[in-house]
Symmetry: C2
């Protein structure tokens, strides 16, 4: 049994509370939240605290607050030499105060409060300063997920940057597709099966082999037609740069 | 019962043969293929022809050959005033020879021979020159798919351009994510659940509302860290342009 205290009441904190509550090997000792009522529906009200001085002993403290607040929260903890981790892909290990044993417990997924997540498939990226602490993080991670990786700070940075490309930037391309549909009065719905299939394809095929389209085929007629059709300079520019990048990629194969 | 002849033996032709074969309201009269053996495993060998002169009468001729070959194939058809359609998102209606009644039967999905597709969810985008011909296309399309739309040439062009963004360009972003992972020795596998979730999210949320990440939050510290981390100039450039585009988008909300 690992005794865990969470700090934060946002997307990640709430999903972790739900996941740990279901696990039989985890006991949630307390949850720190500036506004207790944020968590009232998720956990025993007695376990919610809004004063660091009320924090009891636990095996593991998970700070799931905004990146900018991690340092401040870790500094305010009124104890030392315990395992204190953050959940951020972007923040370095060193934003955590040195008085405790630092670590990272980064769930590589996109969370929003309104959407349920099957935590068992969320890759958990873990980092600790020593083997004992790592084991504690590993046991906690395995209690909620089947996918657990040791990821050092450099690798985590790589994953975070890569995640910006495959998640944030990809969503922005969906948004551009949406805009083009709206401009020409076509329902965006029609593109949804294609979007799903594009994402699914890379489960069985490396993206470089899954690449198709006019840029891949060096079909300059279609590329010119498309550039001519796009009325928005920003869309045109993105079209050109990604087409160029795919064409350069082709040369690597 | 609609009697259909297909011309072509590539990805789309093969998927259409499989789908129509399962349908009870469709009879495949013949399939034209330059190399008969390409289709031997899919259909009665007697029905495969490689000479246009052998083509029998049918209610509908579907030309599923490379975009560049559509005009030539339609010109070589030894009959007139029948319904002849192509399956391309990119080609105009007018590439088809005027001697027959022109139309489009465009399945908006990405096909590869090695991967099965559930045709019932593939959006079928149809265009014809008159109501009667449209009804024939509609009946044929509904026999294999639950998603059938009347799409004129301008709308089809919009969909095709939008598809380049959400499919070809998105796959290229996956490829960049893959490269970043390889460079830093992290398994690309770890990003796959995030990729699936990003695609799934827009089934319930418009992409503009699903947008997250440093660009959306105007988190210039993280953006600078990422740009500094990327060693590849092309990746840096794409990162900058998409970040800028998301930031400009934010102003629209
Ligand atoms: N969202 C994701 O998809 C995702 C995925 C993986 C990792 N992460 C990481 O997980 C962490 C939390 O992200 P999130 O998405 O859960 O954020 P969020 O939903 O925006 O919630 C932020 C939380 O931080 C608290 N907070 C902010 N400033 C604070 C301060 N000075 N003192 C105490 N608490 C403070 C907020 O409390 P109030 O409600 O009182 O303001 C809130 O509970 C971040 O490090 C993030 O990088 C997020
Ligand atoms: N693949 C997709 O994801 C997709 C999706 C929607 C629509 N489409 C459209 O569907 C059509 C076919 O695409 P595809 O992906 O099936 O292509 P493909 O797999 O590359 O197959 C092309 C076919 O065209 C034939 N062909 C090429 N030149 C020819 C000529 N001069 N005379 C006769 N036949 C010729 C080829 O015959 P040989 O084998 O004898 O060379 C082959 O059967 C295109 O208009 C495409 O835009 C494709």
């Amino acid at each position: 049994m690992i005794r865990i205290t969470l700090l934060g009441s946002g997307n990640v904190a709430q999903h972790l509370i739900k996941a740990f509550t279901k696990s039989e090997t985890i006991e949630i000792v307390q949850v720190y939240s500036r506004k207790k009522e944020n968590l009232a529906s998720l956990i025993d009200f007695d376990k919610i605290v809004n004063d660091f001085e009320e924090l009891k002993e636990a095996d593991l403290y998970i700070i799931a607050v905004s990146d900018k607040a991690i340092a401040e929260v870790s500094r305010q903890l009124p104890f030392q030499n315990r395992i204190v981790v953050h959940t951020s892909g972007a923040a370095s290990l060193d934003v955590l105060d040195v008085k405790n044993r630092k670590g990272v417990f980064y769930p590589l997924q996109t969370f929003s409060k309104s959407k349920e997540i099957d935590f068992s498939t969320v890759p958990m990226c873990l980092e600790a300063e020593n083997t004992f602490d790592f084991k504690v993080l590993e046991t906690a991670a395995k209690s909620i997920s089947n996918v657990v990786h040791a990821i050092n700070s450099d690798q985590r940075k790589a994953l975070h940057v890569a995640a910006v490309f495959v998640n944030n930037f990809t969503n922005h391309l969906y948004q551009i597709g949406h805009e083009i549909c709206e401009e020409h009065q076509v329902p965006f719905e029609i593109l949804k099966p294609l979007i799903q299939e594009t994402a699914e394809k890379i489960n069985t095929l490396d993206p470089i082999y899954a690449q198709t389209g006019p840029a891949k085929r060096n079909d300059s007629t279609t590329i010119d037609v498309h550039l001519d059709y796009l009325s928005n300079e920003n869309q045109k520019n993105i079209y050109k740069i990604l087409t160029q990048s795919i064409q350069n990629n082709g040369k690597k194969l």
